[in-house]
Amino acid sequence: MELARELIGLFSAFVIPVILVGFPLYGLYKRVPVYETFVEGAKEGFGVAVRIIPYLVAILFAIGMFRASGAMDALIALLNPVLEPIGFPAEVLPMAIIRPLTGSGSAGLVADMVARYGEDSLFVKMAAVMFGSTETTFYVVAVYFGAVNIKRTRHAIPAGLTADIAAMLFAVWVVRLLFG
């Protein structure tokens, strides 16, 4: 386990440098005018960033209002009686709901839970696994679809949320199994 982690850590340290150095090097070998090509490609960076702004604003401000209104707490109160019987603890429910909505918000929640329940508690482990094993679905939708101006997302959100819900349940069960 320790060795595997060391190896993975080593690999991940090399991925970006290898891409950033290896690609231009290979390009040079293929007689591509690397500097000019790089600059030409990099020019798109600004356009892409600007293009996703309206999508990000639309999603993030709605989520911000939803959180500030206290609707989140109501949702948690509503879901709790349903989830308690299947062994889903109320303490980690806020994490499960916030995770797909905001990355920084859920990180704050992990920090908050560490302070409240202690670093070694089962709840913190569940929340951390939830954090580590899923992405901020709504952010990914806004950025990826925003970049190509896709407005009708079809079944993307249901599929993403299904995976998120599954991940939340798996996180609780796996942590129970390994540490409980």
Binding site: M1, R5, I8, S12, V15, I16, I19, Y26, G27, Y29, K30, F38, E40, G41, A42, G45, F46, V48, A49, I53, L56, L60, F61, I63, G64, M65, A68, S69, G70, A71, G103, V110, V114, K125, A128, V129, G132, T134, V140, V141, V143, F145, A147, V148, N149, I150, K151, R152, T153, R154, H155, A156, G160, T162, A163, A166, A167, F170, A171, L178
Partner: protein, 346 residues
């Protein structure tokens, strides 16, 4: 779909804020217009009261709980200052004081320019009379500004705040995007993407059956997933965007997602990660070592669910009807005339 979720977020925010504010008004949670009884101590003696006097504010826990009808209790004492102004005596709690609810909320409204809770002192007799046998303390009552529609104000503020954050995030991406899009351009010109496509085709083929065999989109997707696996979120985003652009070139529609796009998104939100996010490492420290295994299992299982869900939901009548590739004759590549796969997007 996003239409409904988006509208639901906004409407529920408005309804909840409204209900909670009206509840506050009918319960009079903030005791608007009623002064809170406090005891002020003057460490330098009562004789020294002038324009600006250091005081210690004591709030009796029982009185506080009765007054606001709450279970929270205030600290033993708070430091503050007593100011003599044109409108009378003003009591200011020091900034950063850990206040119990509802005082904490009241501070958001009834405050000085430096975010200190402040209220006007009423029923405070001058010259100050000693309290009992303690000549340096006096009873007084403090009147805070009325608090109304806290949540309504809060959701308005949150909307403005998050709009700013969103633009900030996008602007913050420019540098990294430029860096990786630049390198990807080289990779494209040098043919690296096609080499990658050949390697990953057997793995990605079943997931993206609608993408032509040698299409660069597969290479971009492979790079995006690789960056994800190694926890390199910053690098994964440009690759993912590039992959989307490639997929968009295959899309006959301007604004409707195709099945491969949905699959790419589903696989990304499941986020397979062998390396935990840096943020988690910062929060939990070495404890993370013991969680890695749990994270890998969970993320693997949820990836499976994501793939199945994307595939399954794509077969639903609603998704079929909205599929941009629906009307194409079978066997034909969904590519519009003049829309070459190598042509750049707008």
């Amino acid at each position: 779909m996003l239409n409904y979720i988006w509208a639901a977020l906004l409407i529920s925010a408005f309804v909840f804020a409204g209900v909670s504010d009206i509840g506050d008004l009918s319960r009079d949670t903030y005791r608007n217009g009623q002064p809170l009884p406090v005891v002020l101590e003057f460490p330098q003696g009562t004789a020294a009261i002038d324009g600006r006097t250091q005081v210690r504010i004591r709030i009796n826990a029982g009185v506080y709980q009765d007054f606001y009808g709450t279970d929270e209790s205030p600290a033993a004492s708070y430091d503050g200052v007593l100011l003599r102004t044109g409108e009378g005596m003003v009591l200011r709690f020091d900034a950063g004081a850990a206040l119990p609810e509802p005082l904490e909320t009241i501070r958001g409204v009834s405050r000085s320019n430096d975010d200190e809770l402040q209220g006007t002192v009423e029923g405070f007799l001058t010259p100050v009379l000693g309290l009992g046998d303690d000549p340096t303390a006096a009873e007084a009552t403090v009147q805070f500004e009325p608090v109304r529609f806290v949540k309504m104000t809060a959701i308005g503020a949150a909307a403005l705040d998050f709009a700013e954050t969103a633009a900030g995030i996008a602007i913050g991406l420019i540098g990294v995007l430029a860096l990786f899009l630049g390198v990807m351009k080289i990779a494209e010109e040098a043919g690296i993407i096609y080499a990658i496509v050949r390697v990953v085709r057997p793995v990605l083929r079943p997931l993206f059956p609608d993408v032509p065999d040698d299409h660069p989109a597969l290479g971009m997707i492979a790079l995006n997933l690789t960056a994800n696996v190694f926890g390199l979120g910053n690098a994964a985003t440009p690759f993912g965007i590039k992959a989307m652009e490639e997929l968009q070139k295959l899309n006959p529609s301007e604004d409707t997602a195709t099945n491969p796009m949905v699959m790419l998104l589903a696989v990304n939100t499941a986020s397979v990660q062998l390396v935990p996010p840096v943020l988690l490492l910062a929060l939990l420290g070495l404890q993370i070592n013991r969680l890695i295994f749990a994270i890998i299992i969970t993320t693997g299982l949820s990836l499976l669910v994501a793939i199945i869900a994307a595939r399954l939901y794509g077969k639903l009548p609603g998704s079929r009807a909205s599929d941009p590739n629906r009307k194409r004759p079978f066997g034909e590549q969904p590519r519009e005339a003049g829309r070459d796969s190598r042509r750049g997007e707008g």
